[in-house]
């Protein structure tokens, strides 16, 4: 079984139970959800759900087919030609060198977004593997808290 990682983008009717239908389908059929984001699509009655998942080709194909069967699902896009971005917020103690933290954030196309009395918050939005590297690199500045968002993706 060759596991692949895929981002599946699902366009759904904007109704209250639709997320539970999608998430329930994943849970009930034993599919894996790595990250999940939902937001309304501007100027429409629809929302986009982006799910990063892992599975062999047959599983991925089953996921898209089963999703397509849900009544409020308009469209399921699944392929590897997606531009993906993920966001992370990291809270550092101000006992750590602020300039070094800023350099690190900038190296990952991010910045410092907030500085308080005893902490600062760095933000990075980048590809998921780069986010992983950023989190690893920021470990030396003893982060207090790390909040990672889900993947958003768009077709190339």
């Amino acid at each position: 079984m060759n596991e692949v990682r895929r981002v599946i983008s699902i366009v759904v009717e904007n109704e209250s139970s639709v997320l539970s239908r999608v998430a329930g389908l994943f849970a009930g059929r034993g599919y894996n959800i790595e990250t999940l984001t939902v937001a309304p699509i501007p100027n429409s009655q629809r929302s986009r759900i982006s799910i990063a998942t892992k599975g062999d080709e047959r599983t991925i194909s089953q996921i898209t087919k089963q999703l397509n069967k849900l009544i409020p699902v308009y469209e399921v896009v699944e392929h590897n030609e997606m531009v993906e971005k993920e966001m992370v917020l990291v809270k550092f103690p101000l006992s750590e060198p602020l300039a070094d933290i800023e350099v690190l954030c900038e190296a990952y196309n991010g910045t410092i977004v907030n500085v308080g009395v005893d902490m600062c918050i760095g933000m990075v939005a980048d590809e998921p593997c780069r986010i992983k590297h950023f989190i690893e690199a920021s470990a030396r500045f003893n982060p207090i808290e790390i909040v990672r968002g889900g993947v958003v993706a768009i077709e190339r």
Partner: protein, 570 residues
Amino acid sequence: MQMNGAQMVCEALVAEGVKTVFGYPGGAIMNVYDAIYKQDGFEHILNRHEQASVHAADGYARASGEVGVAMVTSGPGFTNAVTGLATAYMDSIPLVVISGQVPQILLGTDGFQEIDAIGISRPCTKHNYLVRDIAELPRILKEAFHIARTGRPGPVLVDIPKDITAEMGEFVYPESVDLPSYMTTPKVESSAIESAVEAILKAKKPLIYIGGGAVLSNASEAIRAFVELSQIPAVETLMALGVMGAENPLRLGMLGMHGNYASNMAMSETDLIISLGARFDDRVTGKLSEFAQYAKVIHVDIDPANISKLVAVDYPIVGDVKEAVEMLVNGLRGKVQTKQYDDWREILARYDALYPQSFEDSDEIIKPQWVIERLGETLGEEAIVTSDVGQHQMWAAQHYPFDRPRQWINSGGLGTMGFGLPAALGAKKAFPNKTVINVTGDGSILMNVQELVTASEYKIPVINVILNNHFLGMVRQWQTFFYEERYSETDLTFQPNFKALAEACHGIGYDVTTKEEFDMALKDAIEQDKVAFINIQVARFENVLPMVPANAALNNMMLPKIANPAKGEK
């Protein structure tokens, strides 16, 4: 026209042509029952348990092909209905189930008899609705029926809070539905048919594999024409019995865990499976990695998700079975040589002669298989046969000569004990002039036995043939074979007096220990026109054979002792 939500429900049911509703009232659905009291557009049957209401609607749907309708209250009324929904969902049966819900002001407060019906039923319905606005109600009811009956059919739940059924609103029943996100039935692509036709012409050992989808799509005639033209042999799943007709010379029989020898050998040796509305269920395939190892696969299915779900498909055809088969027939006409598969049919005929579907009869004790064959001889094509789940179900499937689709009604996918009697009530309501037999066991029948009362009250005279072996027979059989005869909790020696039980519910009961008594009881039960129990003491340790042990290869069958090698030699 102005009316309240409860009246809208009734009006919508009438507009959908519903003649019979099966249900059970309660607090949250009372407004609708008040409206039912005031109308005469449809009949309401009061079952004695909500599970039975849904099974009855299901039996009605399977027998007639129409959408079955059940109505229940919130909370326990709904949860009792869940097994019925799941049963229908697994076999793709079109149902609309209407459930009451607590008033919207109480939603989410753990109100009396409140339960999240939408959440619970999501995995066992094709779709479900919680109505939040009276203005949506007509549209939702219209969509519910549309979704239930189109595409791959299935049950739809409409959960209606009590304040909505009381509220007044304007009722205009929509003439059409506007559901852009819902795909019904994809059109069969002619290029897919062309490739399939080529594969059929090239094949040496093709096999038609027919599933329940053929019944749902009313494809029986088309399939019989396909078989007639091509002379390709065919096997049926449990859900497809009757599609080919028992007497069809090209019908090998049922395949799978309790399929006959020739059918399972055919599936193991075929070089081209032509799957028509079947889904390669584990009870059919046996061990998947050794399933049909020499075969290419043509798979006709209305549901794209079934294609290559379990078995890799070489020639996918997405769409309605009937339409696809008619196109295959057109493509093959004039091209297929009827002699083309002579050798293959000859091999299969030998297999069938070697181990025909058979059993060893006895003069001392009634064999359950004898009862089924006797029923078949006596009633044949006329009767509708329902069943519960277990040994009796498999014997009925193996030994009753089903001649037409929708004649055989059973819970295949979910395997629901307690399905048979209420489903029989539904089938009898759909076809009051047909004899309806429920073949059941001493275990299953007790799981919805309260429906004897429903049957008596509404004069729905179904005949329950209880193959009584004082065991949960199928589990006992597995314990014999695979658990060293440790009969853990399967001995049903302690049981009610079935004859008296039937009589207590205003029906008629018969205790049968000989073949003569059975003949007399059956004849009398048909004449009496009352709900009946025919309680038959059958051989206790009889096994359902052939049997493919769980997760063994399909050609690895346990066979009955009385094989006939002399016939096989020819």
